[in-house]
């Protein structure tokens, strides 16, 4: 049982998909675009999401 749990933990540790899910939800929100359109960090995030989508 512990071994099975450890396998799930390993899988979760290496899965950064949720990072992009969060970032995507943020970047694609209307309000964020409105507020951070000219922000350098925001532009970098948007670029990342575009690359990730491709």
């Amino acid at each position: 049982m512990i071994d099975k749990i450890k396998k799930v933990i390993d899988k979760n540790k290496n899965d950064t998909h949720s990072y992009y899910e969060y970032i995507k939800s943020f970047c694609e929100s209307k309000k964020a675009k409105e507020l951070f359109e000219k922000n350098e960090e925001f532009k970098k995030l948007e670029k990342t999401i575009k690359e990730n989508n491709n």
Binding site: K13, S25, K31, K44
Partner: protein, 862 residues
């Protein structure tokens, strides 16, 4: 009487007379010592009577039974009795319903009367003997002290009260009506003030309505009744950190289980606040059952035993890492059975129970009296804990320790003496050591330790360490090669083989810190039922978060919240969804939604998300909204009010305040970037998302989370924050500019940095530059900030680096983040390197710099 018996009696009488004669030339202190050290006279009527009538101040150290019988027939001597004897005598009066009558004769003041009335907590059946005003007064005192305990008391004898008695009981507080029979309840059904407490639908509706009212106006919370308050917090647990201290204390006294939602570390950041809240909750601790006592103090971590009595910081009243006088007094109110139950869990509980409490300016005579009281208390608890046979062997050893303390009173003061002689009691109250070693070996160790106490020679240390290792090896059936003296080992019980599943270096390092929850750990490993479940939990959580001190603390703190689910799935096959959800559940803390059954795992992620959405919908304040969101996304509060537990200190706000995205981007270890692109991106997003106070921004984010059906992965997300935490100090040090760097810049760019000397003090003036510095308003070595110089508005002390002491943490103050350090024996104090001047360099500043051997760094705008 036989001739032999007669002769023997005459001999005893003669001896007693001689002993009494020998006392006549002694002062009170010497008489006390002589009496405690001559056990043969401790039950001798002649000696006892002599002391009772001639030395009233010594009545308190006479045998309890003797005191009780004599005090009962000499009520005017009552005040001289020991607390224990007086309590037992009062209990006897309560049994015959004579307390109120005798209290009148004794002319007890209000405070004394109330303290004796609390004995009814232990004697529910005697409560039923009281009538009218006496009953009302008693119930009133009890419920004011501890409402929940009073409810339990009334509940336990509810069938024995008559109608007339109920009238007086419910007059004190309508809440008690719920324990009355239906017949009696029916009498009050028309009266509105009783509705919330009568059983049935009306009560539920009333509570729901009140909870809704508080939801729209939190200010109504304080004036609501306790049942409504409890229901509100159960429905909206995150609000517990927003109620005032008095309400918080009352609520936790009423239901200690709610403590899991409280951010205890938040209390630590405000002077004396932990002291107020914790002592408030523990106010009636002496009237709890042993089980309740252990639950509150140990399992709920409110007062774990500490390995040292030494006060690391005399100014601080932080009871999470040192005993305060108030806490010592509180523990000393426990009876022998209660303290024994605690010592059984962790032998270190003996230390606060027998430490003398006085002020520096207390008269020496009073101090001596207090020390002898502690000696007496220690003898009693030893006898109670180990029995008569071992007591007869060891009582002189205990006396020896206290006599040494008494003879060196100033030098040996436990609050200032790191090598406190009272710590030898850690050996005497360790059951394994006492039962598995001979008296000779133990007393040799104690004697040698006393002899070499202040001896700095290496050979002396080696002797005591060798003797200690010998005792420990026998106690724990293994060859123990330890190189530390007793004074440097927090808990001797850590040598127990049952703890071998924890890395031994980690355990020793962990136990060095006085704030850790060792008692909690010992309680778990001493329970056969809990031991294996805990090992599993430990293995899983350390696999998620790494095997380190912080993880260990949280594992002990949180184990009880997860034990039921761990038990339910023990040796049971789980499907993939259940496994996934179990991992998410165990990677969070406090088991907020109280998942206890395997069946609940199946939909856990959906349950949590639904709860989040419904909670968010009920929140109108942005700060609370941010806290809920951060807890869901990152397993961490946005600010301090969103965290829970003792050790959850860092918040999303503090991390975002202290670190810049570029700090993470540029941070390298051995030439390799520490943070991945994904991690930097997530941090960047977090900073943007929470940097503004914009409710709509949060709403639109969560809407997208819902519509994108995002599944959270706490483990992966926590990795980022654990990484930041791991490099917490390095990240700050790499970001800040040190004095050396300023000097280097002066060499390279004298157009930017100028140097001159004023009255022997070097002044570097930097024009038109912005950079980050580590600074503090005072040089107290505790509070620091890290900011850009353009944001600093006052002249401050600047530092070259932050030293990693292990106690570095963040705290919030007036919407700002402070970097805090503990002052303790292992802290190398950080000294300032320069004075940062953002205003004019005045003569006063030059003087301060000169007196402290500092240079001045002056910041000038372009």
């Amino acid at each position: 009487m036989s001739l032999f018996k007669d002769i023997k009696n005459r001999q005893i009488q003669k001896k007693a007379n001689n002993f009494i004669e020998s006392l006549k030339t002694k002062n009170e202190k010497e008489i006390e010592q002589a009496f405690l050290d001559n056990k043969e006279f401790q039950n001798n009527e002649i000696v006892l009577s002599y002391l009772f009538f001639n030395h009233t101040s010594l009545i308190r150290i006479l045998p309890i039974e003797f005191q009780k019988s004599r005090l009962n027939s000499n009520l005017n001597m009552f005040k001289y009795g020991s607390e224990e004897a007086k309590k037992e005598l009062v209990t006897l009066w309560m049994k015959d319903n004579k307390f109120y009558t005798n209290a009148l004769s004794l002319n007890l003041d209000e405070e004394e009367l109330d303290s004796y009335l609390k004995l009814y907590f232990h004697n529910s059946e005697y409560l039923t003997l009281l009538h009218m005003e006496d009953l009302k007064k008693t119930i009133s005192v009890l419920s004011e002290c501890d409402l929940k305990q009073t409810e339990k008391l009334i509940d336990s004898v509810k069938d024995r009260f008559n109608d007339r008695q109920w009238e007086y009981i419910v007059e004190v507080n309508p809440i008690f009506i719920k324990y009355a029979s239906n017949e009696i309840q029916n009498k009050y059904i028309e009266d509105e003030k009783y509705i919330p407490f009568l059983s049935g639908e009306a009560k539920d509706k009333y509570i729901d309505k009140q909870v809704d009212k508080i939801k729209s106006n939190i200010e109504l919370f304080d004036s609501s009744n306790i049942e409504v308050q409890k229901s509100y917090i159960e429905k909206y647990p995150y609000m517990i950190n927003y109620i005032n201290d008095t309400s918080l204390i009352n609520l936790l006294k009423y239901d200690i289980e709610l403590v899991k939602y409280v951010n205890l570390s938040l209390l630590k950041n405000q002077t004396d606040k932990t002291q107020e809240v914790i002592c408030g909750i523990l106010e009636n601790i002496e009237n709890k059952t042993n089980k309740e006592l252990v639950n509150i103090l140990v399992s709920k971590c409110l007062l774990n035993a500490k390995g040292k009595l030494y006060r690391y910081d005399n100014k601080s009243n932080d009871i999470s890492y040192q005993y305060t006088k108030r806490v010592l007094k509180l523990i000393q109110r426990l009876n022998l059975d209660q303290i024994s139950a605690l010592i059984m869990v962790d032998s270190n509980y003996i230390l606060p129970y027998v430490s003398p409490v006085y002020n520096d300016d207390t008269l020496r005579e009073e101090k001596e009296k207090e020390i002898i009281n502690c000696n007496y208390r220690c003898l009693n608890v030893f006898k109670y804990y180990f029995g008569e046979e071992l007591y007869n062997k060891y009582y002189k050893v205990i006396n020896k320790i206290f006599n040494e303390y008494l003879d060196n009173l100033e030098k040996y003061d436990y609050s200032k003496d790191y090598r406190c002689i009272l710590e030898l009691l850690k050996v005497l109250f360790n059951k394994n050591i006492i039962t598995k070693n001979s008296f000779e070996k133990v007393s040799l160790f104690i004697g040698t330790s006393i002899l070499h106490k202040d001896d700095e020679k290496q050979e002396s240390k080696q002797v005591t360490v060798k003797l200690l290792n010998d005792l420990l090896s026998n106690a724990y059936n293994k060859n123990i090669i330890n190189n530390k003296e007793l004074f440097n080992i927090s808990s001797l019980e850590l040598f127990d083989d049952k703890l071998s599943f924890i890395n031994s270096d980690l355990l020793l390092d962990y136990s060095k810190y006085n704030f850790v929850n060792i008692s909690g750990l010992l309680l778990i490993i001493k329970s056969d039922k809990m031991y294996n479940l805990f090992k599993n939990y430990y293995e899983i959580v350390t696999y998620i978060n790494g095997e380190n001190k912080e993880t260990l603390y949280k594992i002990i703190e949180n184990f009880y919240y997860y034990k039921d689910i761990l038990k339910d799935i023990d040796n049971v096959e789980l499907n993939n969804d259940e496994l996934e959800n179990l991992v998410i559940l165990l990677s969070t803390y406090t088991n907020r939604y109280n998942i206890t059954k395997k069946e609940e795992l199946d939909n856990y992620d959906i349950t949590v998300f639904k709860k989040l959405v419904s909670e968010l919908a009920s929140v109108s304040e942005e700060e609370v909204y941010k806290n809920l969101l951060c807890n869901y996304l990152f397993n961490k509060g946005y600010n301090e009010k969103g965290n829970s537990g003792w050790l959850e200190v860092d918040t999303i706000k503090s991390i975002c305040d202290i670190y810049e995205v570029d700090s993470l981007r540029n941070f390298k270890s051995n030439g390799v970037s520490v943070f991945t692109k994904e991690e930097i991106d997530l941090f960047s997003m977090t900073k943007l998302l929470f940097s503004l106070n914009d409710y709509d921004l949060l709403l639109s984010f969560i809407e997208n989370i819902i519509s994108n059906n995002v599944k959270r992965n706490i483990i992966s997300i926590s990795k980022l924050f654990n990484k930041i935490k791991g490099y917490k100090v390095d990240l700050i040090n790499k970001t800040i500019v040190s004095l050396n760097e300023i000097k280097e810049l002066y060499e390279e760019r004298p157009d930017i940095v100028m140097k001159n000397e004023r009255d022997g003090v070097l002044v570097y003036t930097i024009v038109g530059q912005d950079f980050r510095v580590l600074y503090s308003l005072t040089d107290d070595g505790i509070n620091f900030k890290c900011k850009n110089v353009t944001e600093i508005t006052k002249n401050v002390y600047g530092y070259n680096e932050l030293i990693n002491t292990g106690s570095v943490r963040f705290a919030e103050s007036e919407n700002d983040t402070i970097i805090k350090l503990n002052k303790d024996s292992i802290n190398n104090e950080i000294a300032p390197s320069f004075i940062l001047v953002v205003k004019d360099v005045t003569d006063e500043l030059i003087n301060i710099a000169k007196n402290n051997n500092l240079v001045i760094v002056e910041i000038q705008k372009e």
